[in-house]
């Protein structure tokens, strides 16, 4: 691997950030790296909006009475928390920000296959987001993010239609991004970069893209039908009009279960990059980790009925969905075992990204294992729709996905911005987030098994103590999330300049300067090595 000579410190070379100036050069850019930054800003905004809703929810739940909000307001809060976090943060975050930035760099390409479509994806996302924010500002939606019919299609008198249109539109952004990634990964790999030399991040982005393309149309249609039933009273879901309410659940979960993997697979990809780098070791079981991503993508489509064990679907459907749900747990377990084994005999350092990755392994393990309870037919009867489920999926989504996302942001921040952030602050924030997270969500497993249903703003007093823990944890978590916002911003101006490869990592993206020039690589690199050949890297200087 040829390494570039150290850049002259005095003047900044031309890179994608300073290549052109002005609002126009950003808003109409077709550079995948700039588009990634457009997403980063927008997604961060949505994350904090969704986060404020979460804090308000936790505040209300501090006491068993409904003292802060009316029932209507509370219902809107948890609905909008869910909708914004899922459709506007969790689903796009890693693919649209890090995927956009990294896919071309990791394969030695100039850009994505369709740069203009990439920009279009962003604007579709922005338009969808605008509709959603409109429906929030206009008074909100109270259906829960799941839009169960016939409540959403007939009974709710909130701004369901605008919200549904927003999500429908955003879906196209997802589809186009997935398409772009798939074509790019197939067609634009640098010479010598075979499939089995790809960084695992790309395998998981690839698997994610498949889900985005195949699953999104289903939820889009389901939501479009809800809107049509609201506007035209066609009888699709409401039994009074001759419809079937369970049909909606099938259509909805056919996408929304795989969507869980849209959220977590890219996170797993990030962890697969970070763990080898900070263990200075090849990933253990590369091909097993790679294929487990594909296995998850395929099996993930066959388990949607596990959301309907008590919904009134047939016993036999329940049995099949339960069996398949257990199967999909195996590839996730394989990944966890392989990451753990990668540490073995490594040279482990604890820089900020690694702390997030290790945190991810721990929290994802808990999230995954508690998923077994939900996949078990007889047990799901008791815990379904209780806080046990809430705790389970927050361990996956927040403990897993958000930890990985933050790990990735910290890992590639020097590449993206050309600046280093203070590592001690980074580690402090990671620790605060880990503690705050567990304090928030672990008690919810207990209160869930006790029987506290989800979406209750008033609850029996015996559940209060556990809820107080949760709320306390949520405030710590909130501080933890604000910290990176502050020091990362700070680093933009005051952070030390980053060399091309601050972590001494393998991977093509680290061969480009930090930040990379607009065309990424002056000459297309020739890849003659396997992924993660850390044994061949020169020893890092302390």
């Amino acid at each position: 691997m040829s390494s570039k000579t150290v850049e002259p410190v005095s003047e900044t070379p031309v890179n994608y950030l300073n290549a052109s100036f002005g609002l126009r050069s950003w808003l109409l850019t077709i550079d995948h790296k700039r588009i990634a930054l457009l997403y980063l800003v927008t997604i961060t905004l949505f994350f904090f909006v969704g986060g404020v809703f979460a804090l308000l929810i936790r505040l209300e739940l501090l006491t068993p009475r409904g003292d802060l909000f009316t029932a209507e307001t509370y219902n809107k809060l948890f609905t909008m928390h869910g909708l914004i976090m899922i459709f506007f943060f969790l689903i796009p975050a890693v693919p649209a920000v890090l995927g956009n930035f990294l896919v071309p760099l990791m394969i030695g390409a100039r850009d994505l296959a369709f740069p203009r479509i990439n920009l279009l994806s962003y604007y579709i996302y922005a338009v969808g987001g605008t509709f959603t924010m409109y429906s929030v500002v206009a008074g909100g939606v109270d259906t829960g993010w799941t839009f169960y019919t016939p409540y959403s299609s007939t009974y709710s008198n909130t701004h369901v239609t605008a919200m549904v249109i927003g999500i429908f539109i955003t879906g196209f952004s997802s589809i186009l991004t997935g398409l772009n990634f798939i074509v790019t990964i197939h067609k634009m790999r640098a010479p010598g970069l075979t499939w089995f030399r790809l960084p695992l991040f790309l395998w998981s982005i690839y698997a994610t893209s498949i889900i985005m393309i195949l699953g999104t149309p289903s939820v889009a249609m389901a939501l479009a039908l809800v809107a049509m039933e609201r506007l035209l009273h066609i009888g699709i879901f409401d039994p009074r009009l001759g419809g079937d309410p369970l049909l909606f659940q099938h259509l909805f979960w056919f996408y929304s279960h795989p969507a869980v993997y849209i959220m977590i697979l890219p996170g797993m990809g990030i962890v697969s990059e970070i763990v080898p780098c900070f263990s200075r070791k090849r990933i253990f079981g590369y091909s097993f980790v790679a294929f487990s991503s594909l296995a998850i993508a395929v099996l993930g489509f066959l388990v949607w009925g596990h959301h309907m064990f008590v919904a009134g679907q047939s016993i036999y459907a329940g049995i099949i969905f339960s069996a398949l749900s257990f199967l999909v747990a195996i590839p996730s377990a394989v990944k966890v075992f392989n990451w753990t084994a990668t540490l073995y005999k490594g040279s482990v350092s604890f820089a900020t990204p690694m702390l997030y990755a290790l945190g991810f392994i721990g929290l994802f393990t808990i999230g995954g294992l508690t998923g077994l309870v939900l996949a078990t037919l007889g047990l799901d009867i008791h815990v379904h729709d209780t806080y046990f489920v809430i705790a389970h999926f927050h361990y996956i989504m927040v403990g897993g996905m958000v930890m990985a996302y933050l790990g990735g942001i910290h890992f590639w921040w020097p590449k993206i911005t050309g600046r280093l952030y203070p590592d001690s602050w980074g580690r402090l924030a990671a620790a605060i987030i880990f503690i705050g997270f567990n304090l928030t969500f672990f008690p919810q497993f207990i209160v869930g098994y006790l029987g506290m249903p989800r979406r209750y703003h008033v609850y029996p007093p015996e559940f209060q103590v556990l809820n107080v823990f949760s709320t306390a944890g949520a405030s710590i978590l909130g501080v933890g999330y604000l910290l990176p916002l502050l020091y990362l911003f700070w680093s933009l101006k005051y952070g030390a300049k980053s060399p091309a490869n601050p972590w001494d990592a393998t991977g093509l993206e680290w061969m480009a300067p930090s930040p990379p020039p607009t065309q990424n690589f002056p000459v297309t690199p020739l890849v003659a090595w396997e992924a993660y050949e850390y044994e061949k890297r020169e020893v890092p200087v302390a």
Partner: protein, 308 residues
């Protein structure tokens, strides 16, 4: 304040069987969580970077190890799956002779009816030690009937019946929650299940206003709505005799056979043209909009009670 519960009361037969499986699974979860945590911890500490010139060995993969950590979890999940499925069957198969009670959910209350005729709102009295089967439907949106102390839950759907059963094992008052989000006052759609010793329960039944049993209320309706003019007990009327049809296979005009369960009876009354009984003309009028969910349930109780 600190003596709050960490584990729910066990007040039904299925509570015990559910918790048994839960504790088994808790063991499995603890084992794997501790395994991963300990390994990550040990590796991270033991192999922490001390000497920056140390180059870790290349370990690409170990197929036997991969096979082991695919096969062992696989074997384990098969056990959990099988056990969970058996438990599910137990939940889904009410023992013969269970007392049938009826539940109607609506935004935001639970209405219940006992076969003896008692009606309650947001409360349900049940005897200890006898299986009770609930036949449930909703007037509007989807609700879910959840009694944590019994470990039972079932969504309640508009336009069709779902059911669940339990056998209380300890007298007491237990939370009843609606666990499927159903709109504004979802969190207030709560109530109490009162389990009483059988003798107390009989006394409670005796104390209620005597409107007659559900079946007799159903019979009165049957006459008032004119059903009886066509459905003669002799079978000589324009419609088939209804005695003993509940649970039987019905030969339809299109050659298929339908089982006369609750959903079939419901459809026969609200949408009689959907499935025509073989040998009969499609002349029965629809009763859509003329009977409430509770009246439908009374009619059903009556039809079930008629002897062939």
């Amino acid at each position: 304040m600190w003596n709050f519960p960490l584990f729910p009361q066990q007040a039904s037969t299925s509570a015990r069987s559910t918790d048994a499986l839960f504790f088994f699974l808790l063991g499995v979860m603890l084992f794997f969580a501790v395994l991963i945590f300990v390994l990550v911890f040990i590796f991270a500490i033991k192999y922490r970077r001390r000497d920056t010139s140390y180059v870790p060995p290349v370990i690409v993969q170990l197929v036997s190890l991969e096979a082991a950590w695919i096969a062992i979890p696989f074997g384990l999940v098969i056990v959990i799956f099988a056990w969970g499925t058996l438990l599910y069957f137990e939940h889904r198969s009410p023992p013969p002779g269970a007392i049938e009670m009826y539940v109607v959910g609506k935004q935001w209350m639970w209405k219940t009816q006992h076969p003896e005729g008692q009606r309650e709102i947001n409360t349900l009295h049940v005897p200890v030690g006898r299986p009770v089967k609930l036949i449930m439907t909703s007037e509007d949106v989807i609700h879910s009937f959840f009694v944590p102390a019994f470990r039972v839950k079932q969504d309640v759907l508009p336009g069709r019946y779902t059911s669940l059963w339990f056998q209380a094992t300890a007298a007491g008052e237990y939370h009843l929650f609606c666990s499927q989000y159903c709109g504004t006052d979802h969190a207030q759609m709560i109530g109490t299940v009162v389990a009483m010793e059988d003798a107390d329960y009989q006394r409670w039944l005796g104390g209620g206003a005597a409107e007659g049993t559900m079946a007799s209320a159903g019979e009165r309706l049957f006459n008032r709505l004119g059903c009886a003019t066509c459905h003669l007990e002799s079978g000589q009327g324009r419609g088939p005799a209804l005695g003993g049809i509940y649970g039987r296979g019905i030969g339809l005009a299109n050659g298929r056979v339908a089982t006369a369960d609750e959903d079939y009876l419901r459809e026969s009354i609200l949408n009689p043209g959907a499935k025509i009984v073989g040998g009969y003309p499609n002349v029965m009028p629809t009763y859509q909009g003329q009977v409430t969910e509770e009246q439908l349930m009374q009619l059903m109780a009556y039809i079930k009670s008629v002897k062939p």
